[in-house]
Symmetry: C2
Subunit: 224 residues, 2 copies
Protein backbone atom coordinates (compact mmCIF):
# COMPACT_ATOMS: atom_id res chain seq x y z
CA UNK A 1 0.00 0.00 0.00
CA UNK A 2 1.21 3.46 -0.85
CA UNK A 3 1.65 5.84 2.05
CA UNK A 4 -0.96 8.60 2.17
CA UNK A 5 0.28 12.15 2.80
CA UNK A 6 -1.17 12.12 6.31
CA UNK A 7 0.29 12.78 9.75
CA UNK A 8 -1.94 11.18 12.37
CA UNK A 9 -2.37 13.39 15.47
CA UNK A 10 -2.47 11.06 18.45
CA UNK A 11 -3.68 13.65 21.03
CA UNK A 12 -7.07 12.06 21.70
CA UNK A 13 -5.38 8.91 23.04
CA UNK A 14 -4.36 10.97 26.08
CA UNK A 15 -1.17 9.23 27.18
CA UNK A 16 -2.39 5.65 26.80
CA UNK A 17 0.85 4.04 25.57
CA UNK A 18 -0.81 0.74 24.67
CA UNK A 19 -3.42 2.41 22.46
CA UNK A 20 -0.85 4.72 20.86
CA UNK A 21 1.47 1.81 20.11
CA UNK A 22 -1.34 -0.31 18.66
CA UNK A 23 -2.60 2.47 16.38
CA UNK A 24 0.94 3.27 15.19
CA UNK A 25 1.42 -0.40 14.34
CA UNK A 26 -1.93 -0.71 12.55
CA UNK A 27 -1.38 2.42 10.41
CA UNK A 28 2.37 1.97 9.89
CA UNK A 29 3.11 2.02 6.16
CA UNK A 30 -0.25 3.50 5.19
CA UNK A 31 0.40 7.04 6.49
CA UNK A 32 3.47 9.27 6.40
CA UNK A 33 3.81 9.65 10.14
CA UNK A 34 2.50 10.50 13.58
CA UNK A 35 2.29 13.60 15.72
CA UNK A 36 2.57 13.55 19.53
CA UNK A 37 1.79 16.57 21.67
CA UNK A 38 1.43 17.48 25.33
CA UNK A 39 -1.83 15.49 25.85
CA UNK A 40 0.32 12.38 25.39
CA UNK A 41 3.71 13.59 26.60
CA UNK A 42 2.59 15.19 29.86
CA UNK A 43 0.95 12.10 31.36
CA UNK A 44 3.14 9.42 29.72
CA UNK A 45 6.53 11.14 29.39
CA UNK A 46 9.02 10.79 26.53
CA UNK A 47 8.74 6.98 26.51
CA UNK A 48 5.48 7.32 24.56
CA UNK A 49 7.63 8.70 21.74
CA UNK A 50 9.93 5.71 21.94
CA UNK A 51 6.87 3.45 21.76
CA UNK A 52 5.72 5.03 18.48
CA UNK A 53 9.26 4.78 17.11
CA UNK A 54 9.38 1.06 17.91
CA UNK A 55 5.89 0.43 16.56
CA UNK A 56 6.72 2.08 13.23
CA UNK A 57 10.45 2.67 12.69
CA UNK A 58 10.04 4.24 9.23
CA UNK A 59 7.39 6.81 10.23
CA UNK A 60 8.06 10.51 10.54
CA UNK A 61 7.41 11.32 14.18
CA UNK A 62 6.62 14.94 14.94
CA UNK A 63 6.84 16.36 18.47
CA UNK A 64 3.98 18.83 18.30
CA UNK A 65 4.99 20.85 21.33
CA UNK A 66 3.83 24.19 19.87
CA UNK A 67 6.96 25.52 21.57
CA UNK A 68 6.46 29.18 22.44
CA UNK A 69 9.19 30.27 24.85
CA UNK A 70 12.64 31.85 24.95
CA UNK A 71 15.49 29.85 23.37
CA UNK A 72 16.91 28.70 26.72
CA UNK A 73 13.62 27.08 27.80
CA UNK A 74 12.90 25.57 24.37
CA UNK A 75 16.34 23.94 24.30
CA UNK A 76 15.84 22.61 27.84
CA UNK A 77 12.64 21.02 26.53
CA UNK A 78 13.83 19.81 23.12
CA UNK A 79 16.66 17.77 24.63
CA UNK A 80 14.11 15.17 25.78
CA UNK A 81 13.02 14.21 22.26
CA UNK A 82 15.57 11.73 20.85
CA UNK A 83 12.72 9.82 19.14
CA UNK A 84 11.40 12.84 17.22
CA UNK A 85 12.22 13.64 13.59
CA UNK A 86 10.65 17.08 13.74
CA UNK A 87 9.57 19.64 16.33
CA UNK A 88 6.78 22.23 16.01
CA UNK A 89 7.28 25.77 17.35
CA UNK A 90 5.47 29.10 16.88
CA UNK A 91 6.78 31.65 14.36
CA UNK A 92 5.31 34.56 16.35
CA UNK A 93 8.19 34.15 18.85
CA UNK A 94 10.50 35.90 16.43
CA UNK A 95 14.09 35.04 15.60
CA UNK A 96 16.41 36.73 18.13
CA UNK A 97 16.72 34.86 21.41
CA UNK A 98 14.04 32.34 20.45
CA UNK A 99 13.89 30.63 17.04
CA UNK A 100 17.58 31.31 16.25
CA UNK A 101 18.67 29.13 19.16
CA UNK A 102 16.06 26.45 18.53
CA UNK A 103 16.93 26.17 14.82
CA UNK A 104 20.64 25.86 15.58
CA UNK A 105 19.99 23.17 18.20
CA UNK A 106 17.69 21.15 15.93
CA UNK A 107 20.09 21.42 12.98
CA UNK A 108 22.94 20.10 15.15
CA UNK A 109 20.77 17.23 16.32
CA UNK A 110 19.57 16.41 12.82
CA UNK A 111 15.94 17.28 13.51
CA UNK A 112 13.52 19.25 11.40
CA UNK A 113 11.91 22.49 12.55
CA UNK A 114 8.27 23.16 11.67
CA UNK A 115 6.88 26.66 12.35
CA UNK A 116 3.21 27.50 12.90
CA UNK A 117 2.28 30.54 10.78
CA UNK A 118 -1.49 30.24 11.23
CA UNK A 119 -3.84 28.02 13.21
CA UNK A 120 -7.04 26.11 12.51
CA UNK A 121 -9.38 27.67 15.11
CA UNK A 122 -11.46 30.81 14.47
CA UNK A 123 -9.49 32.83 17.08
CA UNK A 124 -6.47 32.66 14.77
CA UNK A 125 -8.10 35.59 12.91
CA UNK A 126 -7.85 37.82 15.99
CA UNK A 127 -4.07 38.31 16.32
CA UNK A 128 -2.25 35.68 14.24
CA UNK A 129 -3.69 36.25 10.76
CA UNK A 130 -3.39 40.06 10.95
CA UNK A 131 0.34 39.41 11.54
CA UNK A 132 0.65 36.92 8.66
CA UNK A 133 3.19 39.00 6.72
CA UNK A 134 5.43 39.32 9.76
CA UNK A 135 5.12 35.61 10.53
CA UNK A 136 6.00 34.67 6.94
CA UNK A 137 9.04 36.97 7.12
CA UNK A 138 10.15 35.27 10.33
CA UNK A 139 9.76 31.87 8.66
CA UNK A 140 11.79 33.14 5.69
CA UNK A 141 14.59 34.22 8.05
CA UNK A 142 14.62 31.00 10.10
CA UNK A 143 14.43 28.63 7.08
CA UNK A 144 12.49 25.81 8.75
CA UNK A 145 11.92 22.47 7.02
CA UNK A 146 8.18 23.06 7.16
CA UNK A 147 5.36 25.27 8.30
CA UNK A 148 1.85 24.72 9.68
CA UNK A 149 -1.08 26.43 7.90
CA UNK A 150 -4.75 25.55 8.40
CA UNK A 151 -7.08 23.56 6.15
CA UNK A 152 -9.95 25.56 7.68
CA UNK A 153 -8.74 28.77 5.96
CA UNK A 154 -7.05 27.24 2.92
CA UNK A 155 -6.20 30.56 1.21
CA UNK A 156 -3.48 30.93 3.84
CA UNK A 157 -1.88 27.75 2.50
CA UNK A 158 -1.83 29.41 -0.94
CA UNK A 159 -0.25 32.62 0.39
CA UNK A 160 2.41 30.63 2.29
CA UNK A 161 3.25 28.57 -0.79
CA UNK A 162 3.57 31.66 -2.96
CA UNK A 163 5.70 33.54 -0.39
CA UNK A 164 7.90 30.69 0.86
CA UNK A 165 8.46 28.83 -2.39
CA UNK A 166 8.04 25.28 -3.65
CA UNK A 167 10.50 23.52 -1.34
CA UNK A 168 9.09 24.27 2.10
CA UNK A 169 6.79 21.55 3.44
CA UNK A 170 3.31 22.73 4.37
CA UNK A 171 1.55 20.70 7.07
CA UNK A 172 -2.13 21.36 7.48
CA UNK A 173 -4.40 20.67 10.47
CA UNK A 174 -8.10 21.33 10.85
CA UNK A 175 -9.35 18.29 8.95
CA UNK A 176 -12.13 16.09 10.30
CA UNK A 177 -13.30 17.16 13.79
CA UNK A 178 -12.44 20.79 13.02
CA UNK A 179 -14.48 20.89 9.84
CA UNK A 180 -12.32 20.62 6.71
CA UNK A 181 -12.66 17.62 4.38
CA UNK A 182 -9.66 15.33 3.78
CA UNK A 183 -8.00 16.53 0.58
CA UNK A 184 -8.85 20.22 1.14
CA UNK A 185 -5.37 21.20 2.25
CA UNK A 186 -3.46 19.22 -0.37
CA UNK A 187 -5.67 20.58 -3.17
CA UNK A 188 -4.70 24.05 -1.89
CA UNK A 189 -0.99 23.36 -1.99
CA UNK A 190 -0.17 21.61 1.31
CA UNK A 191 2.17 18.61 1.41
CA UNK A 192 0.78 16.79 4.43
CA UNK A 193 -2.63 16.74 6.09
CA UNK A 194 -2.71 16.42 9.86
CA UNK A 195 -5.73 14.33 10.88
CA UNK A 196 -6.50 13.41 14.48
CA UNK A 197 -9.85 12.50 15.99
CA UNK A 198 -11.41 11.41 12.67
CA UNK A 199 -8.90 8.53 12.70
CA UNK A 200 -7.99 8.03 16.37
CA UNK A 201 -11.56 8.00 17.65
CA UNK A 202 -12.81 5.61 14.97
CA UNK A 203 -13.45 2.00 15.99
CA UNK A 204 -11.91 1.10 12.62
CA UNK A 205 -9.06 3.48 11.71
CA UNK A 206 -8.00 1.41 8.69
CA UNK A 207 -11.46 1.82 7.18
CA UNK A 208 -11.22 5.60 7.62
CA UNK A 209 -7.81 5.58 5.92
CA UNK A 210 -9.28 3.68 2.99
CA UNK A 211 -12.15 6.17 2.72
CA UNK A 212 -9.65 9.04 2.72
CA UNK A 213 -7.67 7.24 0.02
CA UNK A 214 -10.74 7.11 -2.20
CA UNK A 215 -11.32 10.81 -1.51
CA UNK A 216 -7.69 11.59 -2.41
CA UNK A 217 -7.90 9.53 -5.60
CA UNK A 218 -11.03 11.41 -6.70
CA UNK A 219 -9.08 14.65 -6.25
CA UNK A 220 -6.09 13.21 -8.14
CA UNK A 221 -3.95 13.60 -5.02
CA UNK A 222 -0.69 11.79 -5.63
CA UNK A 223 0.52 9.64 -2.79
CA UNK A 224 4.17 9.60 -1.77
CA UNK B 1 10.18 36.47 57.26
CA UNK B 2 7.89 38.35 54.94
CA UNK B 3 7.29 36.76 51.56
CA UNK B 4 8.97 38.57 48.68
CA UNK B 5 6.90 39.19 45.55
CA UNK B 6 8.87 36.59 43.64
CA UNK B 7 7.90 33.51 41.65
CA UNK B 8 10.91 31.21 41.36
CA UNK B 9 11.22 29.63 37.90
CA UNK B 10 12.51 26.10 38.42
CA UNK B 11 13.35 25.35 34.75
CA UNK B 12 17.12 25.06 35.22
CA UNK B 13 16.66 22.06 37.55
CA UNK B 14 15.64 20.05 34.48
CA UNK B 15 13.32 17.46 35.99
CA UNK B 16 15.44 16.60 39.04
CA UNK B 17 12.64 16.04 41.57
CA UNK B 18 15.00 15.89 44.56
CA UNK B 19 16.59 19.25 43.74
CA UNK B 20 13.23 20.86 42.99
CA UNK B 21 11.75 19.58 46.25
CA UNK B 22 14.76 20.74 48.27
CA UNK B 23 14.74 24.24 46.78
CA UNK B 24 10.97 24.60 47.28
CA UNK B 25 11.42 23.62 50.93
CA UNK B 26 14.35 26.00 51.48
CA UNK B 27 12.57 28.99 49.92
CA UNK B 28 9.07 28.17 51.21
CA UNK B 29 7.71 31.18 53.09
CA UNK B 30 10.29 33.61 51.73
CA UNK B 31 8.89 33.82 48.16
CA UNK B 32 5.33 33.96 46.83
CA UNK B 33 5.55 30.82 44.74
CA UNK B 34 7.14 28.59 42.12
CA UNK B 35 6.82 28.14 38.40
CA UNK B 36 7.22 24.78 36.65
CA UNK B 37 7.47 24.48 32.88
CA UNK B 38 8.18 21.81 30.27
CA UNK B 39 11.93 21.46 31.16
CA UNK B 40 10.71 19.90 34.43
CA UNK B 41 7.37 18.41 33.38
CA UNK B 42 8.54 16.63 30.23
CA UNK B 43 11.24 14.48 31.89
CA UNK B 44 9.66 14.12 35.35
CA UNK B 45 5.91 14.17 34.62
CA UNK B 46 3.17 15.76 36.73
CA UNK B 47 4.53 14.22 39.96
CA UNK B 48 7.16 16.98 40.05
CA UNK B 49 4.25 19.37 40.60
CA UNK B 50 2.97 17.25 43.47
CA UNK B 51 6.48 17.34 44.97
CA UNK B 52 6.54 21.15 45.01
CA UNK B 53 3.03 21.20 46.50
CA UNK B 54 4.11 18.88 49.31
CA UNK B 55 7.36 20.78 49.93
CA UNK B 56 5.52 24.11 50.25
CA UNK B 57 1.75 23.74 50.67
CA UNK B 58 1.08 27.50 50.92
CA UNK B 59 3.02 28.50 47.77
CA UNK B 60 1.36 29.62 44.56
CA UNK B 61 2.39 27.03 41.98
CA UNK B 62 2.22 28.15 38.37
CA UNK B 63 2.22 25.67 35.49
CA UNK B 64 4.17 27.68 32.95
CA UNK B 65 3.16 25.65 29.94
CA UNK B 66 3.04 28.66 27.58
CA UNK B 67 0.00 26.87 26.15
CA UNK B 68 -0.42 27.81 22.50
CA UNK B 69 -2.88 25.45 20.88
CA UNK B 70 -6.57 25.04 20.07
CA UNK B 71 -8.96 24.73 23.04
CA UNK B 72 -9.38 20.96 22.63
CA UNK B 73 -5.64 20.28 22.94
CA UNK B 74 -5.10 22.78 25.77
CA UNK B 75 -7.90 21.16 27.78
CA UNK B 76 -6.44 17.70 27.13
CA UNK B 77 -3.19 19.07 28.58
CA UNK B 78 -4.55 21.13 31.48
CA UNK B 79 -6.37 18.16 32.98
CA UNK B 80 -3.02 16.80 34.21
CA UNK B 81 -2.33 19.72 36.56
CA UNK B 82 -4.26 19.14 39.81
CA UNK B 83 -1.32 20.61 41.77
CA UNK B 84 -1.26 23.93 39.89
CA UNK B 85 -2.91 27.15 41.12
CA UNK B 86 -2.40 28.94 37.81
CA UNK B 87 -1.66 28.11 34.17
CA UNK B 88 0.16 30.30 31.63
CA UNK B 89 -1.09 30.50 28.02
CA UNK B 90 -0.43 32.85 25.09
CA UNK B 91 -2.83 35.72 24.35
CA UNK B 92 -1.99 35.71 20.63
CA UNK B 93 -4.10 32.54 20.27
CA UNK B 94 -7.21 34.69 20.35
CA UNK B 95 -10.47 33.99 22.09
CA UNK B 96 -12.70 31.90 19.84
CA UNK B 97 -11.88 28.19 19.90
CA UNK B 98 -8.80 28.70 22.06
CA UNK B 99 -8.76 30.95 25.17
CA UNK B 100 -12.57 30.86 25.60
CA UNK B 101 -12.46 27.12 26.23
CA UNK B 102 -9.35 27.26 28.39
CA UNK B 103 -10.72 30.08 30.59
CA UNK B 104 -14.01 28.23 31.11
CA UNK B 105 -12.18 25.02 32.03
CA UNK B 106 -9.82 26.76 34.48
CA UNK B 107 -12.68 28.72 36.09
CA UNK B 108 -14.59 25.48 36.64
CA UNK B 109 -11.52 23.89 38.18
CA UNK B 110 -10.77 26.87 40.38
CA UNK B 111 -7.48 27.69 38.68
CA UNK B 112 -6.13 31.04 37.58
CA UNK B 113 -5.35 31.90 33.97
CA UNK B 114 -2.25 33.98 33.18
CA UNK B 115 -1.84 35.29 29.62
CA UNK B 116 1.46 36.23 27.99
CA UNK B 117 1.11 39.61 26.26
CA UNK B 118 4.82 40.18 25.64
CA UNK B 119 8.02 38.21 26.18
CA UNK B 120 11.46 38.92 27.62
CA UNK B 121 13.66 38.01 24.62
CA UNK B 122 14.61 40.51 21.87
CA UNK B 123 12.62 38.58 19.22
CA UNK B 124 9.43 39.60 20.98
CA UNK B 125 9.80 42.91 19.11
CA UNK B 126 9.46 41.15 15.74
CA UNK B 127 5.82 39.99 15.81
CA UNK B 128 4.49 40.12 19.39
CA UNK B 129 5.08 43.76 20.35
CA UNK B 130 3.76 45.16 17.04
CA UNK B 131 0.52 43.30 17.95
CA UNK B 132 0.43 44.60 21.54
CA UNK B 133 -2.89 46.44 21.13
CA UNK B 134 -4.58 43.34 19.76
CA UNK B 135 -3.08 41.18 22.53
CA UNK B 136 -4.26 43.59 25.22
CA UNK B 137 -7.75 43.55 23.68
CA UNK B 138 -7.75 39.76 23.77
CA UNK B 139 -6.69 39.85 27.44
CA UNK B 140 -9.48 42.36 28.13
CA UNK B 141 -12.03 39.99 26.56
CA UNK B 142 -10.77 36.85 28.32
CA UNK B 143 -10.42 38.48 31.77
CA UNK B 144 -7.50 36.41 33.07
CA UNK B 145 -6.30 36.62 36.67
CA UNK B 146 -2.93 37.84 35.45
CA UNK B 147 -0.71 38.60 32.50
CA UNK B 148 2.99 38.21 31.70
CA UNK B 149 4.95 41.29 30.59
CA UNK B 150 8.75 41.55 30.48
CA UNK B 151 11.14 43.31 32.88
CA UNK B 152 13.53 43.67 29.92
CA UNK B 153 11.16 46.15 28.21
CA UNK B 154 9.49 47.64 31.28
CA UNK B 155 7.43 50.28 29.42
CA UNK B 156 5.22 47.38 28.29
CA UNK B 157 4.39 46.73 31.95
CA UNK B 158 3.27 50.36 32.19
CA UNK B 159 1.09 50.12 29.08
CA UNK B 160 -0.51 46.90 30.32
CA UNK B 161 -1.25 48.41 33.72
CA UNK B 162 -2.80 51.48 32.17
CA UNK B 163 -4.90 49.49 29.69
CA UNK B 164 -5.95 46.58 31.91
CA UNK B 165 -6.50 48.40 35.18
CA UNK B 166 -5.31 48.08 38.75
CA UNK B 167 -6.74 44.65 39.57
CA UNK B 168 -5.02 42.42 37.01
CA UNK B 169 -1.83 40.78 38.31
CA UNK B 170 1.27 41.48 36.24
CA UNK B 171 3.98 38.80 36.36
CA UNK B 172 7.32 39.79 34.96
CA UNK B 173 10.19 37.58 33.71
CA UNK B 174 13.56 38.63 32.33
CA UNK B 175 15.27 39.30 35.65
CA UNK B 176 18.76 38.01 36.40
CA UNK B 177 20.16 35.81 33.60
CA UNK B 178 18.17 37.77 31.00
CA UNK B 179 19.52 41.13 32.11
CA UNK B 180 17.01 43.06 34.22
CA UNK B 181 17.80 43.88 37.88
CA UNK B 182 15.52 42.56 40.64
CA UNK B 183 13.04 45.33 41.44
CA UNK B 184 12.89 46.68 37.86
CA UNK B 185 9.52 45.13 37.08
CA UNK B 186 7.84 46.00 40.38
CA UNK B 187 9.04 49.60 40.20
CA UNK B 188 7.37 49.72 36.77
CA UNK B 189 4.04 48.44 38.03
CA UNK B 190 4.34 44.63 38.07
CA UNK B 191 3.01 42.58 41.00
CA UNK B 192 5.36 39.63 40.86
CA UNK B 193 8.89 39.17 39.52
CA UNK B 194 9.71 35.82 37.95
CA UNK B 195 13.32 34.93 38.74
CA UNK B 196 14.93 31.67 37.66
CA UNK B 197 18.61 30.95 37.12
CA UNK B 198 19.83 33.79 39.40
CA UNK B 199 18.30 31.79 42.27
CA UNK B 200 18.21 28.18 41.08
CA UNK B 201 21.82 28.10 39.87
CA UNK B 202 23.21 29.73 43.00
CA UNK B 203 25.04 27.51 45.50
CA UNK B 204 23.25 29.57 48.17
CA UNK B 205 19.73 30.54 47.04
CA UNK B 206 18.80 31.94 50.47
CA UNK B 207 21.69 34.42 50.27
CA UNK B 208 20.45 35.57 46.85
CA UNK B 209 16.94 36.04 48.27
CA UNK B 210 18.37 38.17 51.07
CA UNK B 211 20.30 40.29 48.58
CA UNK B 212 17.12 40.80 46.55
CA UNK B 213 15.30 41.76 49.75
CA UNK B 214 17.86 44.51 50.41
CA UNK B 215 17.47 45.67 46.78
CA UNK B 216 13.66 45.71 47.17
CA UNK B 217 13.90 47.65 50.45
CA UNK B 218 16.12 50.27 48.84
CA UNK B 219 13.43 50.71 46.19
CA UNK B 220 10.68 50.86 48.83
CA UNK B 221 9.11 47.75 47.36
CA UNK B 222 6.45 46.57 49.78
CA UNK B 223 6.43 42.88 50.45
CA UNK B 224 3.21 40.93 50.69
Amino acid sequence: MERLSIIVALDALGGNIEKVEKLARVLCGSVEGFKLGWPNLLPAGPRIGEAVRQACPQAMIIADLKLADIAYTMLQTAQHLPWADAVIAHSFLGVEGALDGLKEYLDKNNKKLVLVISMSHPGSREAIDPCLNRLINIARAVRPWGIVAPATRPWIIGIARRELGPHIKILSPGIGAQGAEPGTAIRNGADLEIIGRLITRSPNPEKIINKIKINYNKSNITNN
